[in-house]
Symmetry: C2
Subunit: 445 residues, 2 copies
């Protein structure tokens, strides 16, 4: 197992032997086995443990367990307690998604501050199989058939070569202690259904399912890399970007299913979907001028080119001077009203802020490069651009994001997250509720 582990690291150039690596360790069997393997191989490692505080004593027990194990191994350990439920509530996220956002944001900070080269997670091949089957039920393209990537930016998966059974056997053989993961963070209904119902049946069809599928995935990952190269070349030849617009040469969209695939890959970044891609291809030889709308962009099929431009709503900065009222910016409408401090919505398009910290007139404007805020639940400031990267927002999403500013401080990244300094606390006496709607959407939707 140790040999396979090192082979896997070398084969995919995950890291070098001298690189300091931060390990995400929950205390479950996968991450404890990974910790054991890294230390057995002589790597310099640190451990990051997230306490999501979702299971009271059990969560604290995990934290103590990981801290103790690291002490024994003489490995530095970082622990953070997250207000996961509150964060999920504020941001209209599932607990699962909230935990994911919180942990990756924190990991990023740790990598930065403590100069680790990479973050290693304990995903194994069973996780990858489950992901592919989930992707199938969601209509994924080739990317989705390649499973969990062995390397994605600074995140590496050094256990991806091994099955769950192999990891558990390794832990048993080496008497590695671990704690049963009762966190239910993995208690995602769909994933568990695939794990317990579908994978065992596929294994009835092929008892060596994992080995066979691993080979298949490796081929697909190679082919995906070819695809990315081809896409880059296509973009280079067919796309011209200027400050005002993007032009796609119609000659690059001549014929064949290739064209749908290329165009979709490109315009999905701007919020257009696959159905629209088909309609655009269909409109290529029709009367020029046909228009297609995504939330933040307009696409026009012109004579020689397809043009993509930001939608031309009025984006000029709004000054919000009175407490009650409605305001408009781009496609958005914002209403505000007094509210009892206890009331908090679960919708990210709603924010309840402490009125005592707000200084009128508030400024409501598009976000700008260089903007930063103190994300709710974090004790340090963060650039909006980094925040959006963590949230994996597309170009199209980012194009319509606005901020609410009070005396030069961002109080709310509108529709995304409030600033920690403006949150409602037990001391709050007077609160304001802000509600965002899109005036292009039908009422009630």
């Amino acid at each position: 197992m140790l040999e396979q582990f090192l082979n896997h690291i070398d084969r995919f150039a995950l890291c070098r032997r001298e690189d300091p690596i931060l390990l995400a360790v929950s205390g479950g069997v996968d991450s404890m086995a990974m910790l054991h393997l890294f230390t057995a191989a002589g790597f310099t490692v640190g451990v990051a443990h997230c306490n999501f505080q979702l299971r009271g004593k059990d969560s604290d027990g995990d934290e103590d367990f990981v801290a103790q194990a690291c002490k024994t191994l003489n490995v530095p350990v970082f622990v953070h307690r997250f207000e996961t439920e509150a964060y999920a509530w504020e941001n209209g996220l599932s607990t699962q998604m909230a935990a994911r956002e919180l942990r990756y944001a924190w990991f990023d900070d740790l990598l930065e501050i403590h100069h680790y080269t990479a973050l290693a997670t304990g995903h194994h091949f069973d996780d990858s199989m489950e992901t592919i089957l989930l992707n199938i039920t969601r209509g994924a393209a080739t990317d989705g058939m390649a499973g969990i990537p062995v390397k994605n930016g600074r995140v590496i998966r050094p256990l991806l070569f091994a099955t769950r059974a192999q990891v558990e056997k390794y832990a048993a053989d080496h008497r590695i202690k671990w704690r049963e993961d009762k966190s239910n963070l993995t208690d995602d209904y769909q994933r568990n259904f695939i794990r317990h119902k579908i994978i065992p049946q596929l294994k009835e069809l092929n008892p060596s399912l994992e080995t066979t599928w691993q080979n298949g995935i490796e081929k697909i990952q190679g082919e995906l890399a070819i695809l990315h190269d081809a896409f880059d070349a296509w973009c280079k030849n067919s796309i011209t970007r200027t400050a005002e617009k993007i032009a796609i040469d119609k000659k690059a969209l001549n014929h064949g299913p290739q064209v749908n695939a290329m165009l979709w890959r490109f315009i999905k970044t701007y919020g257009f979907n696959y159905e629209q891609t088909r309609e655009i291809i269909h409109a290529l030889n029709g009367q020029p001028g046909k228009k297609f709308l995504a939330p933040a962009f307009l696409l026009v099929v012109d004579r020689e080119n397809i043009f993509i431009t930001p939608r031309s709503e009025d984006w000029s900065e709004q000054h919000i001077g009175t407490v009650n009222g409605r305001h408009t910016l781009g496609p958005w409408r914002l209403s505000l009203e007094d509210t009892p401090p206890a009331v908090r919505g679960s919708d990210p398009r709603e924010a309840v802020l402490d009125a005592a910290h707000l200084q009128f007139p508030l400024v409501w404007r598009k976000w700008r490069a260089g903007d930063f805020f103190h994300p709710l639940g974090m004790d340090h400031k963060k650039k909006l651009s980094d925040f959006f990267i963590d949230k994996k927002l597309s170009v199209a999403d980012k194009e319509t994001i606005t901020v609410l500013e009070s005396a030069g401080q961002i109080a709310w990244v509108v529709g995304h997250r409030i600033d920690d300094r403006f949150k409602v606390t037990p001391q709050t006496q007077h609160a304001l509720r802000f509600v965002l709607t899109n005036h292009e959407e039908k009422p009630g939707v």
Copy 2:
């Protein structure tokens, strides 16, 4: 449904309205619905029905049913009765594979003789989903994730847009008569397992599984076309073919998972597998001269190039003069002996021929372009090159195929199929048994 059917045909340019189309009709609900759709749309069609004679009266009942339905619709019908069991036995094939080979060979002949533009089969989207899941359990690459192709040479699948449920509803709505398919040709254990156990569970995860997956597949098919283009370009730039050898420029194998995917796609045609591909890539920067063997080809990692050459066995024509004995040609060994006419092997590497028709000395040689024979079970001659295309043989397979000739007639395409004129009949008094082995294989394997 009729409109969707025509849209699907136009969208994938399956055929034009004026093209005469041959429909493969079993009498089951899928093919009967297809026949109904084609006639309702005003196409000129003919029907081909295969009677595999596997279920006695039931098979004949299907044949009568299809013939009667075509008479009512005034559509020409072609019926052929196949000796499927005998053919499967002679060729060491499963009944399923035998039926497949026989039907496609016959369809090809019908297309040729009666000038049909295309052959349409009644595969629907459920067949495609099943195929993908089967492919996953077999370690397929991107090709395998794209499902059943809507068009493959002259074979078209005009029902691929529809689910099984939609086809059945159409048949019920239009009171189309059909016969329950008891043939068990589709009684492939694995496919049925997927149909009845796995797909229903995936539908629990996503009740609109078909629509979602259809979009996914369409994206993958587009991406696959991009991949094929990239592969063709790579071959053009990196591969040089001469009469003696194939050279792959090592500079085209620089780095990245792309390289594995490209090299594998190329060398698999010559009988090399994915494991070898990995080893070859690994050997690129080692000592030149490392050799890899496939059954018919030798691959050498040289200084600037990788060379692929046919393996240099002695392929000179052998004359077989005595009845009992052993002979060698290339990697092959052929033994022959007297045998009671009743004994027939089930292994394609064995042939039992009527001695009365054999004229000694027999000639055993490599096959040549221009060779033809009368395949067992067919009443006309066929070029070996076409026979190999029907059998989907790779370049590597074809490279080692030999024939056994008696007085200028091919009696056996060795290891593949005997000639109909040399088969054992109830009148046979004296038979000869030929057994082919590969002298590179270990005894007993």
